[in-house]
Amino acid sequence: MHELSIALSVVDLAREEEGRHGGRVCAVHLRIGALAGVTPEALLASYEMACAETSLEGSRLLIEEVPVVVYCERCEARRPLESLQSFSCPECGTPVSRIEQGRELELVALEIEQ
């Protein structure tokens, strides 16, 4: 389980931004791709621990899960992947290896109160 390491990085980044913008962070918004290797539930559980005794204590973590989007060479189009167990185009069934979206591990926004 490496979600605690990830949570600590999130807290570090958020505190850095807090210093830059002033005020106090009350919510943190993340985008996590289905292929990022991070389990949102485990990250939520680790987050509270990572925030303890920092200015972020008591803040909320909001995670937007980003589905995998692949590029189908045959359809010449971006397609949402239906299952991580089957990298094939949902329309024509062609195997797909080009991943367009789904590896995100991003801090997107902060809610800051004065």
Binding site: H2, I6, E17, Q85, P95, I112
Partner: protein, 229 residues
């Protein structure tokens, strides 16, 4: 006066720090002309045995070295040192994966330009290492025949961060009723077109294909480096 919290857009990669270190490492390896390959697998898939054999076989013609990550104990490093190659252990404590900074720290004092190959053995884990770039040029994901044919379906993410899949302990295939076709099909489902090598570090079956792949990759990377501005 409003006390509503304001929303500040940030857009930052959470693993930026690791990615920056990994990028520096990749450049440093390229400048030194050393080809770096990493190995990931679950515990017990045979990473250390494969690495031991790799160091011995490639060590006959190349300058090879290894970094091995483990939660505790230096047993693997001691075992690998028998091959005569320089080996360093990275003991991660409770951390279940290697990070680029750990690799960077463990390189202190090593003359990388005196090496052809550097192997990095990750901590036995098919989940956490997927998120961390270590600056390697090639990542092998190893699954042994004793783990079942559907392992790739259970860990699609690691297969999508690795370059080559290795089916290890192929000498035990018959004993455990391993279905080779089914395993290849699982790999193909999660990573179409992935290069796959079946081998046994004990009988040497398939080892030629594996070392040849590494040699080709070393030459290709040096040619690219030489032709780069």
């Amino acid at each position: 006066m409003s006390h509503e919290p304001r929303l500040v857009e940030v857009r930052r990669n959470i693993l930026k720090q690791n990615d920056l270190v990994a990028r520096e490492l990749r450049q440093r390896f390229r400048d030194a002309g050393v080809f770096v390959a990493s190995l990931v697998s679950s515990p017990g898939a045979g990473k250390t045995t494969l690495l031991e054999r790799t160091l011995t076989l490639l060590g006959e013609r190349f300058r090879v070295a290894a970094l091995v990550g483990d939660l505790a104990t230096e047993n693997d490093a001691a075992r690998l040192a028998r091959s005569g190659a320089p080996v360093r252990q990275i003991t991660t404590g409770t951390v279940c994966h290697l990070e680029a900074a750990m690799v960077q720290r463990s390189l202190d004092g090593w003359a990388l330009d005196h090496l052809d190959f550097l192997f990095v053995e990750n901590v036995g884990n098919l989940v956490c290492p997927a998120s961390y770039d270590l600056g390697e040029s090639m990542r092998f994901v190893i699954v042994s025949v004793t783990e079942g044919e559907d392992k790739p379906l259970k860990y699609p993410t690691i297969f999508n961060t690795a370059d080559v899949a290795v089916l290890s302990k192929i000498d035990l295939a018959a004993a455990v009723g391993f279905d080779h076709e089914a395993a290849l099909h699982s790999i193909e489902s999660v990573r179409p077109g992935m290069r796959t090598i079946a081998l046994s570090a004990r009988t040497d079956e398939g080892m030629n294909e594996y070392t040849a792949l590494l040699e080709e990759a070393l030459h290709a990377s040096r040619e690219t480096a030489a032709s780069a501005p």
